[in-house]
């Protein structure tokens, strides 16, 4: 049943993306593809924050699995968004990177969440690992609203203005569906790994 739901999510995401592809040529707003990518990453960060707080309150490891899954999927989307933005900057200004508020805030955000994953690899003991990374996730999230606010505070030169109502909602919906699919699959992998660790402990005990 769960597998069927996952397949359904995937099929829905692909159908929405196929629908978008038919409109790429007609819609110059496809240039703003980094917005749904970064929007999905922001949603993943919110999920990770909620799961981390839930873990700190309940000590239920399912929340820890959800937090790591959402963080990893969000990192992939944010990386894709940053790279996409770099191509647009190169087309507009002839250079691959500018230290404007948007890109810098996104990069800082990416580095903070990458540190989350590095911290997970560094701590061996499961409870300590989950607790320390949950605290780090709460700290890292502080950069997400900051990234949004900095764009309003320090508008960079050549800041693209667009009407939110014109933004292809389907694009964002497809990305969010894809992000959900990645998160669920990664969460299941984390649960399997936890189950395997407990089996290993049983094997050593025998």
């Amino acid at each position: 049943m769960r597998e069927k739901r996952l397949y359904l999510l995937g099929v829905l995401a692909v159908a929405l993306m196929a629908y978008n592809l038919t409109e790429i040529a007609a819609r110059p707003l496809q240039a703003l593809f980094y917005i749904p990518l970064c929007g999905t990453a922001a949603l993943a960060a919110v999920t990770s924050l909620a799961a981390s707080i839930a873990f700190l309150r309940t000590r239920n490891f399912r929340f820890d699995s959800l937090a790591v899954a959402a963080t990893e999927a969000g990192l992939a989307f944010l990386a894709a968004g940053i790279v996409n933005a770099c191509f647009l900057i190169h087309a507009a200004a002839g250079k691959w990177w500018t230290w404007d508020s948007r890109l810098t805030a996104a990069l800082v955000c990416w580095l903070l969440y990458a540190t989350y994953l590095m911290l997970r690899h560094a701590v061996q003991e499961p409870t300590k690992r989950a607790a320390s990374t949950a605290v780090w996730s709460v700290f890292a999230f502080l950069d997400v609203p900051l990234a949004v606010v900095t764009i309003q505070w320090w508008k960079p030169a050549g800041h693209l203005r667009f009407d939110w109502t014109q933004l292809r909602f389907c694009n964002l919906a497809a990305m969010v569906l894809l992000g959900t699919l990645f998160t669920v699959v990664r969460m299941r992998q984390e649960e399997t790994r936890r189950e395997m660790d407990s089996l290993r402990r049983m094997t050593h005990a025998l």
Partner: protein
């Protein structure tokens, strides 16, 4: 328009790369889980076969 297309391709390449890492991780996990389960079963069988120590 070409830059937009390249940007789209690059973004999709990253997402596809992530999917590939998920798939390879899934395969590795399944393999490891099967080996741990077989180790556990063989461990249980050997502990059953070993006679209890006499006083």
């Amino acid at each position: 328009m070409i830059a937009v297309t390249y940007g789209l391709i690059a973004a999709w390449a990253i997402l596809v790369g992530y999917v590939l890492t998920l798939v390879s991780r899934e395969k590795r996990l399944k393999r490891e889980l099967a080996s741990v389960k077989s180790m556990l079963e063989s461990g249980q069988a050997s502990s059953r076969a070993t006679p209890a120590p006499r006083d």
